[in-house]
C-alpha cells in the first residue's frame, strides 16, 4: 500500500459544468476561460454552486459527460479562494440552517488530493501547481 506521508497534495474542487462550458475549458490549464468558473456540486442540481475566479485556476481535468453535464476537477493555485453559493433562504430573513442529513447535507467544496510521486501521469502537472510536500 502507498504511504500517504510520502505523497504530494494539492487542492481542487470537484463538480459539474454544462457540456458547452466544458468544451471551452480545455484540459490541463485554465484553457483561457476568461470568466468566473461555476461548478454544480451535485450532478443535475443547481442547488449548490462553487465559483472560482479564472486567475485562481491552476488546471482542469475533465471527466465524463452525462445528460449535458461534464464532470471536472479544477485544481487551484496556492491561496486560491472558493465561493460557495447555495440556493436557499433569502439572507435577510436571519434563518439558521439545521444540518439534518435527512433533509440536506452541506459539504465543503474544497478537497485535498494526494498524488503518488511515482505516478507517471501527473509530475509535469504537479510542477505547474507548485505543490507543497505533505
Amino acid at each position: 500500500m502507498a504511504n500517504t506521508e510520502q505523497q504530494n497534495a494539492t487542492y481542487a474542487v470537484i463538480g459539474y459544468v454544462p457540456d458547452e462550458v466544458a468544451k471551452s475549458l480545455g484540459t490541463g490549464g485554465s484553457g483561457g476561460y476568461g470568466r468566473a468558473l461555476e461548478l454544480r456540486v451535485k450532478r443535475g442540481s443547481d442547488q449548490e454552486i462553487v465559483r472560482v475566479q479564472p486567475d485562481h485556476v491552476a488546471g482542469i481535468l475533465q471527466g465524463a459527460s452525462q445528460e449535458g453535464e461534464t464532470g471536472v476537477q479544477v485544481f487551484l493555485k496556492e491561496n486560491a479562494t472558493v465561493e460557495t453559493l447555495t440556493r436557499g433562504i433569502a439572507s435577510d430573513l436571519h434563518l439558521q440552517g439545521i444540518s439534518d442529513p435527512n433533509v440536506w447535507w452541506h459539504r465543503p467544496p474544497l478537497v485535498s488530493i494526494f498524488v503518488h510521486p511515482q505516478d507517471p501521469r501527473f509530475p509535469k502537472f504537479l510542477e505547474q501547481l507548485q505543490l507543497k510536500q505533505q
Binding site: 447555495t86 433562504i89 478537497v111 485535498s112 488530493i113
Partner: protein, 628 residues
C-alpha cells in the same frame, strides 16, 4: 461438452441482476471451448404468478431442449432447498446427466451436500472455475476424477473430498460479459430496472478475498483470505461493454474488501476517469483503511457509495469477533465520506453469544449517531453463522428462525413443507438458525433488529437522543415496551415501500411508551425526546407530501411551512454530532422552517419563535445567498 448452468429462484425483488458467479463460470467454460447454456430461474420466474410451482418445469424444458451432458447448479444459503429439487428434476429428465453443485452453500458444504442429496454427483469446494473445467475434460475423455482439485465425488458410495491446489489468477479470466452475451440475455435483466430509476445498477466482480479474520464471516474463508483483483483494464472493459451495450451506469463492484489495495483503487479511479464513461461505482470498505487523499479522486471518478461492516460499538466485542475497529476511526471515516458526497451504508451484527443488553444499547446508539453524521443507510442484522465462518464451527446453541426464512426466502409464501424440511436439518441449513445470546431472548432480538433498523432510518435524531440519555438502558427499556405493547410485525414495517406512514404508526406508540416507561429519565429529558420525535414526524410529513404540507403547522407560504418546536433542534443536532452535553437548555421554543426548494430538494432552518409573524409576510422564502 454441452453444459447447462442454472440458478434457482433467489429473491422476490422485481429487479434482477445477472448472477455474477454463474456468469463468470459460464465465461470460463466458453473460453475453454465448451458449449454453455445458462438458465437463471430467478429471472425466468419473474412476473409469473406461479413461479414456485413451475420453476422445475422451466428447467426440465431447458434440459430437454439443450440436452446437456453436465448440469451445474449453484446455490446460496437461501435457495439451496430449491437447488436440491432442481438436481432431482435434472435426473428425472435424464439420469445419465452428470450433476454438479457449487456456490456459497454447496461449495462450503460439499460432503454434507453429497450426503444429503443422493442424486448430486459432484460438488466443488470454494472457487469453481478450474475444477469444473477439469471435470468436463475428465468426463469427455473418460479419465478419473480423483486428481481434480476441490472436487467432492463418491468412492464406493461415500463422499470423498479432493484437496485444493491453490487459487486461480483472476487475470486469466477474460472480460466475461462479451463472452456470455450469447447465452445470457443481459437485455432482459436490464429491462427489470424500473423506467426512471436514478441509477441503472448491476453487480460485477472486481475480485475475491479479504485478508481479515472476523469470526462470523463466511466469505473470507470461502476465498481463502487471499486478496485478488481483476486487472483494471479487464474490469473497465466489462464496465464499458455493459454501459455501451445495455445502458448500465451504476456498478456495484463485488469484492469482499476491494479497498485493501490503495494503489489498485488509484489505478481504477484514473482508468474510469480517463475513459470518460458516465458511470458510477461502489465497493466494500473498512473504516480502518486509510484512503485519505484518494477519496476525492475516487469521487471524481464516479464512486458514489461505500459499504461498511461496522458490527458493534463494543470495544470488547470488536476484539472477540476479531474485527478490531475503533470508534474514532468509524466516526471520522463516515464523516469524511459524507463531506465528499459519498454515501455510506453501515451494517451492524447484533446478538453475539455473550453480548450484553448494554453493549447492544451502545451499538444501536452508534447506528443512530452515524446516521446523523451522514451515513446513508444503517442496518442491524441478527447474528447467523454459515460455514465456513469460524464461529459456525463453535456449534452454538441456536433456534430455527422462521422470521429470517420468510425474509430471505425466494418466494413470498414459505410452504409449510419447506419450513419443516429446513427446520429438520440444522447442520445443513445453519444459516436459518439464530444463536442464543445474552443480549436478549430470541423474540426480543428479532424485534431489536426490525424495530431499530426502521427507527434509525426514519427518526435518527430521536433514537440518538434516546441512546445518549439512556446509555446502557436503551435496550432493556425497549424490552419493557415489548412486554406491554408487543412487537411490530414485518407486514406493518413493509406494508408500503412508497410511504413511511404504516411503519411510523407502528413505531410511534412504542417510542412514546419507551419515553413514558423509562425508569430514570428526568422530565426535561422526556420532553427533549418527545420534542425531537415531533420534529421528525413533521419532517417526514413535509418531505413525503406532494406540495407544501401545512397541516398542523403554525405558518407557511408557497414554498415553506413552519411550526414552533419545544426543542432547539439545531442545537440538539450540533450537540449530538460534536459530543456536547445534553442539557435542559435544549428544551425551549424555537421555530422550525421547512422549505421546498425544487428538484426534490428540501431545506430546514430555525429561528426565534417570535419571528414567525414576520416570515408570514413572505409567500416565498427562496433566493440565492452566499454561505461562504
Amino acid at each position: 461438452m454441452r453444459v447447462l448452468l442454472t440458478q434457482p429462484p433467489l429473491s422476490t425483488l422485481p429487479e434482477v441482476c445477472p448472477p455474477v458467479g454463474l456468469c463468470t463460470l459460464a465465461a470460463w467454460l466458453i473460453h475453454k471451448g465448451h458449449e454453455v447454456s445458462l438458465l437463471d430461474l430467478d429471472l425466468a420466474v419473474k412476473g409469473l404468478p406461479s413461479g414456485q410451482e413451475i420453476y422445475r418445469d422451466l428447467l426440465a424444458d431447458e434440459v430437454r431442449r439443450f440436452a446437456p451432458q453436465v448440469v451445474g447448479v449453484t446455490s446460496m444459503f437461501n435457495n439451496s432447498l430449491q437447488a436440491e429439487r432442481l438436481i432431482r428434476t435434472v435426473k428425472d429428465c435424464d439420469d445419465s446427466i452428470i450433476t454438479v453443485g457449487g456456490g456459497s452453500h454447496f461449495g462450503a458444504l460439499t460432503v454434507p451436500s453429497l450426503q444429503r442429496i443422493p442424486r448430486l454427483d459432484h460438488a466443488i469446494e470454494g472457487e469453481g472455475e478450474e475444477a469444473f473445467a477439469q471435470l468436463l475434460d475428465a468426463v469427455a475423455t473418460g479419465a478419473g476424477v480423483a486428481d481434480i482439485p476441490r472436487l467432492c465425488h463418491r468412492v464406493d458410495g461415500e463422499p470423498r473430498q479432493n484437496p485444493s491446489r491453490g487459487l486461480m489468477d483472476l487475470a486469466e479470466i477474460p472480460p466475461i460479459w462479451p463472452l456470455v452475451d450469447g447465452c445470457v440475455d443481459i437485455g432482459r435483466y436490464a429491462r427489470t430496472i424500473p423506467a426512471g430509476a436514478g441509477r441503472r445498477a448491476i453487480y460485477i466482480e472486481a475480485g475475491r478475498g479479504c485478508p481479515f479474520v472476523c469470526t462470523f464471516c463466511a466469505t473470507a474463508p470461502f476465498w481463502e483470505r487471499k486478496y485478488r483483483v481483476k486487472p483494471v483494464a479487464a474490469l473497465l472493459a466489462e464496465i464499458r461493454f455493459l454501459h455501451e451495450q445495455y445502458g448500465y451506469d451504476g456498478f456495484m463492484l463485488v469484492h469482499d474488501l476491494l479497498t485493501v489495495d490503495r494503489d489498485y483503487l488509484n489505478e481504477l479511479s484514473e482508468a474510469v476517469w480517463e475513459s470518460r464513461l458516465p458511470v458510477e461505482w461502489m465497493a466494500n470498505h473498512r473504516t480502518d483503511i486509510d484512503l485519505r487523499g484518494l477519496l476525492p479522486k475516487m469521487k471524481a471518478a464516479g464512486c458514489w457509495a461505500m459499504f461498511f461492516g461496522i458490527e458493534s460499538a463494543s470495544p470488547r466485542l470488536q476484539k472477540t469477533i476479531r474485527k478490531g475497529l475503533k470508534q474514532e476511526g468509524i466516526v471520522s471515516t463516515i464523516t469524511g465520506l459524507a463531506d465528499l458526497g459519498i454515501a455510506s451504508t453501515c451494517s451492524f451484527v447484533i446478538g453475539f453469544p455473550d453480548e450484553t443488553p448494554e453493549e447492544l444499547s451502545a451499538t444501536v446508539a452508534l447506528g443512530a449517531d452515524l446516521k446523523l453524521l451522514g451515513a446513508g443507510m444503517v442496518q442491524f442484522h441478527r447474528l447467523r453463522t454459515w460455514p465456513p465462518a469460524p464461529l459456525s464451527r463453535a456449534l452454538l446453541p441456536a433456534r430455527f428462525d422462521l422470521d429470517s426464512l420468510r425474509l430471505e426466502y425466494p418466494f413470498l409464501d414459505v410452504l409449510d413443507a419447506d419450513a419443516a424440511a429446513i427446520a429438520a436439518d440444522p447442520e445443513f441449513f445453519a444459516g436459518y438458525f439464530a444463536p442464543a445470546t445474552t443480549a436478549g431472548t430470541f423474540a426480543q432480538m428479532a424485534q431489536v433488529e426490525i424495530f431499530f433498523t426502521h427507527a434509525v432510518h426514519m427518526v435518527p435524531l430521536t433514537v440518538a437522543l434516546m441512546g445518549r440519555l439512556a446509555g446502557g438502558s436503551l435496550i432493556p427499556a425497549f424490552y419493557g415496551v415489548l412486554s406491554r405493547l408487543g412487537g411490530v410485525s414485518r407486514q406493518e414495517m413493509e406494508a408500503d415501500p412508497g410511504s413511511p406512514w404504516p411503519a411510523w404508526s407502528a413505531l410511534r406508540p412504542r417510542l412514546e411508551s419507551w419515553v413514558a416507561l423509562h425508569p430514570t429519565l428526568e422530565d426535561w429529558q422526556r420532553r427533549l425526546i418527545l420534542g425531537a420525535m415531533d420534529y421528525e414526524e413533521r419532517r417526514l410529513r413535509f418531505v413525503n407530501s406532494d406540495g407544501v404540507e401545512r397541516d398542523g403547522m403554525d405558518a407557511g407560504g408557497d414554498d415553506w411551512a413552519a411550526f414552533v418546536s419545544t426543542v432547539d433542534i439545531a442545537l440538539a443536532f450540533d450537540r449530538l454530532r460534536g459530543g456536547g452535553a445534553l442539557t435542559p437548555d435544549l428544551v425551549q421554543d424555537w421555530a422550525v422552517v421547512f422549505t421546498r426548494q425544487g428538484h426534490g430538494a428540501f431545506g430546514v432552518y430555525t429561528t426565534g419563535a417570535d419571528h414567525l409573524p414576520e416570515l408570514s409576510q413572505r409567500p416565498s422564502l427562496m433566493a440565492a445567498s452566499s454561505v461562504q
